[in-house]
Symmetry: C2
């Protein structure tokens, strides 16, 4: 199994990306196709004493997609970019998943158009994980789609189910539908239809949930429209940042507070670790023929290492095949029902 | 000016509500109609040595709407409930605004149906305030509506503008449209139309914003659909709670951390104060003929006091009249434009 890693993507590329790739190759023997400017990557590997590491193979890419370029760039203007070549490698079967901390829109659209969606799946969904007191809540979609149809939300539920099961080890993931009240009748016209549709999936659908459930541990998976999920993701990151900034400022205001902060520092570090996206690695784009993990632009080597690890687990668990089989089953049941009703 | 206060609403009613009302009456002479079971309220006032306080007048209400009763209860089954009577008092002009920490849905629907919307305003919007490094961001709607039309978002912008100006003292509030990318072309069909509509308002519209802008201080007002705003509100509250819980747990893990936490305690207290909804008081339901402030169900006396204070400022600034005038101006401009185009 090979993971294609976009060595040119992210604020700290290629240095941190190469370093993360070398770490995971050394620690667990992950086989990596490192995609980017070969001269640059060779020199980074030399710097890390990893030139002869047999797990890492360089694939040259002469172009790079900038963070501010249009999402379609790898499909049109820059077909020799590292993002596009990563997607091509997965498409050709040379790699089974790709990891990139580059331009999120460009990675999403390249993966979607080059890899294609799983048979029976209409739209891919970007998933994000949030901490809760017991573990993690997977929320999808967080930005790949807007104006999601109920049937698409059902597909997201299937994707979230297997992701939570295979990657987070939850036996029977509890799935919630994001709404603005717990009763079945609450929400929009679309969420009310989605409620009915989700009840018929055979998944562990527990009903409507609210914004607070993302962080409560009451469910393992939450499905929602990408507009709502994106606002949620970005605002939650910002709240956490704001609280840390304000606390840091408060802790500097007197010598006594400073001493207290010093003594309690390990507590802050442990908390930071629990709430830091870098520990979670990347957001998976689910529903594709192959794996695609989109890491945060600010990813350091730890984030890259964890992202590659996730991608490897994802492929090893044959998650796309499981999603395909379940979606096919749901489609077949629907056809049977329609057939019966015609009798 | 009188503020009608629902003394029976909230988890800690009537005790905390009466106590908050007495505080604000004593501190700044606010005139209050305290609505609820008169025997109960008299005894609470006695307990606080406030029986002879001339600023507070009791208005008897024989019924109470429970937190789990349907939102329509005050309109149908319980017309003698404290929520309904508060709305009736504002409608009749006996009070200029109402404050309740009771059943949110019931307060919203009572205020909307009994007071009615301002002339030219289609829908009321519930506004919430969030902390940012420089001050506060007003977000509306956070739950009064779903499937909001662009013309309604324009009305929300007008309401948010005057609220931010009059209550938060911002000279020219910067208004953002919630979307999932800053470019004009990002978002849904509805947000793209709203973008165009908002540009024509003459307000300080700065364009699309994202979830992170709620907490960054980049804008003073953000307009969005109530579904999105409600998820945002509830998830942001939950993140803040989760971080506090996790930090508390981490700080208990060793004696050294405990000592550190003790020394730094004032920093935590100052932070808690800055991020605590109780300090902000209530969420205003804007766009109505009169003031309606909905306090958190868990409100203590401080939250009630701050809510009543807000309601008073709101009325004193003649906010509803300002909203009416601006909405009328926008409607007139539209008519003129339509008239021109027919020539």
């Amino acid at each position: 199994m090979f993971i294609a890693v976009d060595a040119m993507g992210g604020d700290h590329a290629p240095r941190e990306v190469v370093s993360g790739a070398v770490q995971v190759a050394r620690e667990q023997g992950t086989q990596i196709l490192l995609v980017g400017n070969s001269a640059l990557l060779e020199s980074e590997l030399r710097r890390l004493g990893a030139s002869s590491l047999k797990e890492i193979e360089i694939v040259h890419a002469e172009e790079v997609v900038g963070m501010d370029e249009p999402a379609v760039t790898p499909l049109r203007k820059k077909k020799r970019s590292s993002i596009r070549i990563c997607a091509d490698l997965v498409k050709k079967g040379r790699a089974q998943a790709m990891v990139s901390a580059g331009n999120t829109g460009a990675v999403m659209i390249s993966a979607k158009m080059v890899l294609g969606t799983i048979e029976g799946v209409d739209r891919p969904a970007l998933a994000a994980e949030f901490p809760n007191p017991q573990g993690r809540t997977v929320v999808l979609d967080v930005g790949a789609n807007v104006d999601t149809k109920p049937s698409q939300l059902r597909e997201f539920a299937v994707m979230g189910h297997f992701y939570s099961q295979e990657i987070n080890g939850i036996h029977s993931p509890r799935i919630g539908l994001m709404s603005i009240g717990e009763e079945e009748t609450k929400g929009t016209g679309k969420t009310r239809v989605a409620f009915q549709v989700l009840q018929e999936t055979g998944l562990n659908f527990v009903g409507n949930v609210e914004g607070r459930d993302v962080f409560s541990g009451s469910v393992d998976v939450i499905v929602c429209d990408g507009f709502v999920g994106n606002v949620l993701l970005k605002s939650a990151e910002a709240v956490a940042e704001l609280i840390k900034t304000m606390l840091r400022r408060e802790l500097q205001k007197s010598p006594l507070r400073q001493i207290g902060a010093l003594l309690a520092r390990p507590a802050f570090e442990d908390l930071a670790k629990r709430t830091d996206y870098r520990e979670y690695g990347a957001a998976p784009l689910l529903g594709l023929r192959g794996g695609c993990f989109i890491a945060h632009g600010r990813s350091n080597s730890t984030a890259i290492k964890n992202s590659i690890r996730r991608a490897e687990e994802f492929v090893a668990a044959e998650t796309p095949e499981k999603i395909r089989a379940k979606v096919a089953q749901l489609h077949n049941e629907e056809k049977r029902l329609l057939g019966d009703s015609e009798l």
